[in-house]
Amino acid sequence: MPDTNRVVQRTASVEARVDAIQSAFDERGLKASEAVEELGHLAQEKWIPENGARVVARAWVDPGFRKRLLADGRAAVAELGLAMPRHHRHLVVLENTPKVQNVICCTLCSCTAFTIIGLPPDWYKDLEYRSRVVRESRTVLREMGLDLPADVEVRVWDTTADTRYMVLPERPAGTGEWTEEKLASIVTRDSLIGVARLEAR
């Protein structure tokens, strides 16, 4: 016999849940809709990989900047007008060489230096990348299109604290005459995460 007193309530859609908290904030004077406007703009237009690309291009053409960047990433990116959230107290820049490939991840959640390298792509936050990249990095990189020679050392950096990482990819051969702006145009977010190497194109 069906229990007629039992109220079966459907789980609200994610959109409806967002609407609920946003409107509840607004009604309490917490200005959620203004924040959505402002932070949505920052997330989509300002916190983008082009920031990291500018940093990389500058490091490629300016040895003094490169040195400062490797010593204190947070201070060096500030020279280019780039800021990081208060809780990201430290930016460590990881230099790739012909024999070293650095790769960043966050196995516990999905942390990144998002104001510098952009908000992380979907795959970075997925269970597959988070579980596998620390244990079978070469296979994961190969599946993602980066087949590293056996003599390249892989260094995986797990973002478990509020220190943030950015990979400094190698400057591709054949770019000696390029302007800083043109150099920046070939630097991809994937290369800043360390799952891709760069080529002149």
Binding site: Q9, T11, A12, S13, V14, A16, R17, V18, A20, I21, Q22, A24, R28, L30, A35, V36, L39, G40, A43, Q44, H87, R89, H90, V92, T107, L108, C109, L119, P120, P121, D122, W123, L127, E128, Y129, R130, S131, V133, V134, R135, E136, S137, R138, T139, E143, M144, G145, E153, V154, R155, V156, D158, T159, T160, A161, D162, T163, R189, D190, V195
Partner: protein, 204 residues
């Protein structure tokens, strides 16, 4: 807590669903969810450790099937309910349906009583600590030995900061582990660097 969020080294997951130039957002609600949680942190309604812990406290079944932004949204709503910002009933009324929340929090803990300043080159071991509350020690380094590479500025201690327990900020150490030590006989060669809080470390 040894939750399902602690994914590093778990076996059985398939290929990374990788596409070149993959986007961070796939729907407008994701942008809003991301902005609202960031706004709540900015307002001081909760801190980042509370935020991360509320994601970890999600029902494992929900955690594993929710998208990243649904996890983020669940944490935001859970913390707003727990802190009395908005009652759950009101949110469910506004949403026109039930809203899954994370499970209640267990107590946190303060810094380790004996903490040592370490320097690059020191050989260290990760303590065998396991706690019911928040911590930022991935399970795969528990009890493992590695080499200190560098020290960071001091950060709030997550095990305390996620629970409102008073604590001192402490540095983290970039510790370099060999993947073969972490998973003997079943890992591909690599160096795995982890930012490890001072309270989690002892000299090896």
């Amino acid at each position: 807590m040894d939750g399902v969020h602690d994914l590093g080294g778990r076996q059985g997951f398939g290929r990374v669903r990788f596409t070149q130039g993959a986007t961070a957002f796939h729907a407008p609600w994701e942008v809003r969810a991301n902005s609202l949680y960031a706004h709540a942190v900015r307002l001081g309604l909760f801190n980042m450790d509370e935020y991360r812990h509320a994601i970890e406290r999600m029902d494992p079944r929900h955690y594993l099937t929710a998208s990243y932004y649904e996890r983020s949204l669940t944490s935001l709503i859970t913390l707003c309910v727990e802190k009395g910002v908005v009652p759950a009933e009101e949110l469910e009324r506004r949403a026109g349906g039930s809203i899954p929340l994370a499970s209640p929090s267990a107590p946190g803990r303060g810094n380790a009583s004996a903490r040592e300043r370490l320097k690059p080159g020191d050989r260290v071991r990760v303590k065998p600590d396991s706690v019911p509350g928040h911590m930022r020690m991935p399970g795969y380094i528990r009890g493992k030995a590695g080499i200190v590479v560098s020290e960071t500025p001091a950060y709030p201690f997550p095990d305390a900061h996620a629970h409102g327990v008073p604590s001192e900020d402490e540095p983290t150490y970039d510790v370099r582990f060999r993947s073969e030590d972490l998973w003997p006989g079943s890992a591909e060669p690599a160096l795995v660097h982890v930012g490890v809080f001072q309270s989690y470390l002892e000299r090896a």
